[in-house]
Amino acid sequence: MAFPLKHILFPTDFSKNAEHALFFAAEIANRNGAALTLYHASQDTMDFAPSFEHSKDETIHGANKHFDQLVKKLQQRKKYRDIEVSTMLQSGQPITSLLNHIKEERPDLVVMGTKGATSNRNAVFGSVTTNLIQKSEVPVLAIPHGSGLDKFKNILFTTDYKEGDIAALEQTIGFAEFFNSNVDVLHVADKKDLENDIKFRGFRDLITNRVSYENLNFHLIYENDFFPGIADYLLDNPTSLLVMVRYKKTFWEKLAERDHSKEMAFYSNVPLLMLVGKEQVERPLITKDAREEQNANY
């Protein structure tokens, strides 16, 4: 994800949830000067149906009508009028089509709406979003229906100090710059000891030596388990965007194995940006004290 973003994909099923997310996508597109593609995949039309041609025309007609309505909604807001908007209708199974489309077009970011908090824990994010979060090759921003657009004032980046977290945090800061957001970097450590203390310090030191961003803060909390830890943090700290980095075993798979409705409710009301973590690479060992870099600290 390089900034400014050039191309944002907005998949929609033309539901209310999706519409809510449109303005998030528009706001990001506007600030980045990115093109916005509204995307819909439909498998309503069955090739083998007797009235195939007729049905197909109807679907296309219906989709276009929906697209027109969305575009009109955007243009009602003066600031969104200059956004380069295009629409795309694909026939096929929504998840497969969308994933293939992302693979081919490689948009910089996918923004989509989700249901938000419901009593059914599996339905917090719909199946399309869940799949996308797990499999997309580009970053995905999931916007729950209940979330308010506060221009991403407080961004929470959770880290496990994995190699890919560095690039992901740099991307997050790149994103934050467009909104002048506060970025809080949070690590949940299982116990209070020297190692956790110095890892926290070391990560902060490494990052602040690489990027300078004024509104960047680091936090360390102690909790046996990541999920309750972060749920508590979200409770005490209003957060407008939760950023996570996806590695092989995704956050979502881990979360899906759990049944903590309290936690779920928090996640599901906070927009989630899922970044794609690069796998572990070998780092050259620091063998000597890099004094010039450290002057500020001595």
């Binding site: 100090y161 190699e163 020297l194 203390d197 110095i198 070391g202 030191d205 620091i286 063998t287």
Partner: protein, 298 residues
């Protein structure tokens, strides 16, 4: 933070012990500590008919030898005013030394060590190595080849474990007496982000919590700790090597490592404990902190 008030100097009247004595004198001179000279009479013949007779004559001889040492010290102008006590104990050296260390409330044991020698190791054992393995206070082992005491360059080995900060504070207090340069050294088994942030974080923590500017930080790739240390010592020829002796068997530098190091490192080796009790000592006894000790920032 414990200060050095009582130095226990066990001697078997060997060449090794003789070579180690100047270290005890110099440290006592700088710290104002009392030196407790100790000889342990090991009695293999308790059951012999003339045990009492033999014991008496041995005791007498030991007394004379201790007096000789005292006289030698008296003749050195610099050390003539040092407070030196002598003590004779019977029993196995290992136990009498540990017991005496407690009796005199010793903060430091200084003794000569033979270095690696197959024959001595197998048949005579190595009391110093055993003391290092069992003592709960710092032990300074002086190998045979050591020259006159100097503490210009201290090599402090760390594995970023819990009480390494306390251990380094102790060593920094020691270093201040001699204006030594400390190199904090880590033998790195991995070259990854975790390692880098540990390095950076420890460096930051130390620079914030220890007010001593002659500390440098280094790492070297390693697959075997003792090998790496031997190479490092060979390359740098530090005046003093410091290791933390960990209790936990799974720890990277276990007791075995410090014991092994005492055989193989041909430089003075200071083994400091990792147990919290030692570093909490002054609080327990209510002793005043020495003036030489710098305030610790937290």
């Amino acid at each position: 933070m414990p200060t050095i008030n009582n130095i226990l100097f066990p001697t078997d009247f060997s060449e090794n012990a003789k070579q180690a004595l100047p270290y005890a004198l110099e440290i006592a001179y700088q710290t104002g500590a009392t030196i407790h000279l100790l000889h342990s009479i090991e009695e293999p013949y308790d059951f012999a008919p003339l045990a009492q007779e033999v014991k008496k004559s041995v005791s007498h001889k030991v007394d004379l030898l201790l007096q000789e040492i005292l006289e030698d010290i008296q003749q050195q102008k610099k050390y003539a005013k040092l407070n030196i006590k002598t003590q004779i104990q019977s029993g196995r050296a290992l136990y009498t030394i540990l017991e005496e260390a407690q009796n005199v409330n010793s903060d430091l044991i200084i003794m000569g060590t033979r270095g690696r020698s197959g024959f001595e190791k197998i048949f005579l054992g190595n009391t110093t190595a055993e003391i290092i393995e069992h003592a709960t206070i710092p032990v300074l082992a002086i190998p045979k080849e050591s020259s006159t005491p100097n503490f210009e360059r201290i090599l402090f080995t760390t594995n970023y474990k819990d009480n390494d900060l306390k251990a380094l504070q102790y060593v920094a207090n020691f270093a201040r007496l001699f204006e030594s340069k400390i190199t904090v050294f880590h033998a790195a088994m991995e070259s990854d982000l975790q390692n880098e942030i540990l390095f950076r974080g420890f460096r930051e923590l130390i620079s914030e919590s220890i007010d001593y500017d002659k500390i440098e930080f280094e790492q070297a790739p390693s697959s075997d700790f003792v090998d790496t240390m031997n190479q490092k010592v060979k390359a740098d020829t530090p005046s003093l090597v410091v290791m933390v002796r960990y209790e936990k068997p799974f720890s990277f530098f276990g007791k075995k490592h410090s014991k092994e190091m005492s055989y193989s490192v041909s430089r003075p080796l200071l083994v400091v404990p990792s147990n919290q009790d030692f570093y909490a000592r002054d609080k327990q006894t209510g002793k005043k902190e020495s003036k030489k000790e710098q305030p610790v920032k937290e």
